[in-house]
């Protein structure tokens, strides 16, 4: 079973590899402008707090407690991205996992309804560490629409757009490890390669990892457009150990209700894109190792963004949705050079 450690969901697979560990944290970030322009990656601005559902069962609706998992506070139209971290038995040898992500039980990669297990044609999951993070719904090849929170029932969430229902909200995550024999073969190959090179090589994920840091239910809606590729699975579908899969339901609560439910203060609202850019703070681009990218989810190509829906419902333009100047983005990934900046809470959460 996964554990909750310092606001991070941690999945361990000691039956396959003693030190096999995969974890996810949920990064707060600014909402990129919801226009026709496609933006670079915004920074992480600290992690969302996570709490066990059963610790606050007295203050939560029965349907929330029956789903189990964790609760997370989000401000309306606040955005998030999922940061993945893989660890293995040695530095540089990470344990790969397949990760299926859904919002309101709508698959974020394909737009299909939730199905257990993993599927190809189309691939309905990502593989970490090849995919170091996920920022939104894959609407077309190389482009996602940002995960932004809106109150469930107001008609903005992707779940409501595609199903006509506001039943689930939140995020659903399934993590599947490699089968033992596949992992052992990968480990042997890595060890032989290291012997030949006589050195400790770094991997894609380590080089990419520094993008880090720098009771109303909420659903995830589609925000602005962002450059981000979803990479194809380098393994075969049979390589994944479905029987060892673990899953978690993350209920999103409106941040204004957080203190009443948990007794803890909710995080401050993050800055908007205009304020962030006016301080000349960086945006990022990720350069993979000549990796191909999957097409966007067929059902997701036609979803409307929050700004489009807002204009349709009210006739007015969504506030704070104008384009901003971002300057040249900083490169992340295997081809990036030099140290990468670290964003910390102190820059904005004071």
């Amino acid at each position: 079973m996964p554990t909750l450690e310092n606001d991070r969901l941690v999945f361990r697979f000691p039956q396959i590899e003693q030190d096999a560990c995969f974890s996810i944290d949920f990064q707060r970030t600014l909402r990129i402008p919801d226009t026709q322009r496609t933006y670079s990656l915004p920074p992480g601005l600290g992690t969302f707090p996570l709490r066990h559902v059963e610790d606050h069962a007295d203050n939560l609706p029965p349907q929330t407690t029956s789903r189990g998992g964790v609760i997370l506070p989000m401000w309306q139209a606040e955005a998030m991205w999922l940061s993945f971290r893989n660890e293995g038995p040695e530095w540089g040898l990470q344990f790969p996992v397949a990760v299926k992500v859904a919002a309101g039980k709508i698959n974020a990669v394909t737009g299909e309804g939730w199905r257990s297990g993993l599927h190809r044609e189309p691939q309905d999951y990502v593989v970490s560490p090849e995919q170091p993070w996920l920022d939104g719904f894959a609407v077309e090849k190389g482009v996602i629409r940002q995960f932004v929170a809106m109150p469930l029932g107001d008609g903005y969430s992707v779940e409501e757009q595609l199903t006509g229902e506001a039943e689930w909200g939140g995020l659903q995550i399934l993590v599947v490890p490699l089968k033992t024999r596949v992992w052992q073969a990968k480990r042997r190959a890595w060890e032989e390669q290291r012997k030949r090179r006589g050195e400790h090589g770094s991997t894609l994920m380590e080089e990419a990892s520094i993008r880090f840091m720098a009771c109303e239910s909420m659903g995830l809606a589609a925000g602005g457009r962002m450059r981000q590729s979803i990479y194809p699975d380098p393994f075969t579908i049979e390589d994944w150990d479905i029987a060892a899969a673990e899953r978690v339901f993350i209920t999103l609560l409106h941040a204004r209700d957080w203190k009443g439910i948990t007794g803890e203060a909710a995080p401050n609202e993050p800055p908007n894109a205009k304020d962030y850019s006016s301080m000349d703070l960086p945006w990022f681009d990720y350069y993979g190792k000549d990796q191909a990218a999957l097409p966007g989810g067929a059902a997701l190509g036609g979803i409307k963004s929050v700004a489009n829906l807002f204009q349709g419902m009210t006739g007015a333009k969504l506030p704070n949705s104008g384009d901003v100047e971002t300057g040249a983005p900083k490169a992340l990934g295997p081809g990036a050079q030099g140290p990468r900046p670290v964003r910390t809470l102190g820059l904005w959460d004071e």
């Binding site: 079973m1 310092n6 559902v53 059963e54 407690t65 189990g68 998992g69 339901f249």
Partner: protein, 126 residues
């Protein structure tokens, strides 16, 4: 006759059981000694002796039935009787060194710190 340590523990356990049962008996006559004993699969005479601390606490199966009947947490009920559940025992015995070290390391931590370290995220119906 001087009471032994085991006797004292048995008496405390018996008193706890009796208080739990009598609290419920105040609002529900089905919590008489005789009826509770019958539902737990023991005789009224035996349960009476348990409540008075005259015999050692019953075995695990009876303790779990008593916990269910009296609304007590099963692990708390077993601990009051000086026992740990079979599943916990087999878990510890499977990796004795690891769990011995773990328990010694966390024995003085406050509850919230322990929960942060070791708790699973529970899955539910969705």
């Amino acid at each position: 006759m001087q009471r032994t340590k085991t006797d004292a523990a048995g008496a405390a356990f018996g008193e706890h059981i009796r208080k739990l049962r009598e609290r419920r008996l105040g609002s529900d006559p089905s919590f008489s000694l005789r009826q509770v004993a019958a539902r737990c699969g023991v005789t009224a005479a035996y349960l009476s002796r348990v409540e008075r601390g005259e015999v050692a606490p019953p075995g695990e199966a009876t303790l779990l039935r008593l916990a269910d009947e009296l609304g007590e947490d099963p692990d708390v009920m077993l601990a009051l009787a000086g026992k740990i559940s079979t599943d916990l025992r087999s878990t510890i015995l499977a990796r004795p060194q690891l769990f011995a070290e773990l328990i010694r390391a966390i024995k003085t931590m406050p509850d919230n710190a322990v929960l942060r370290i070791v708790r699973d995220v529970r899955d539910g119906n969705w």
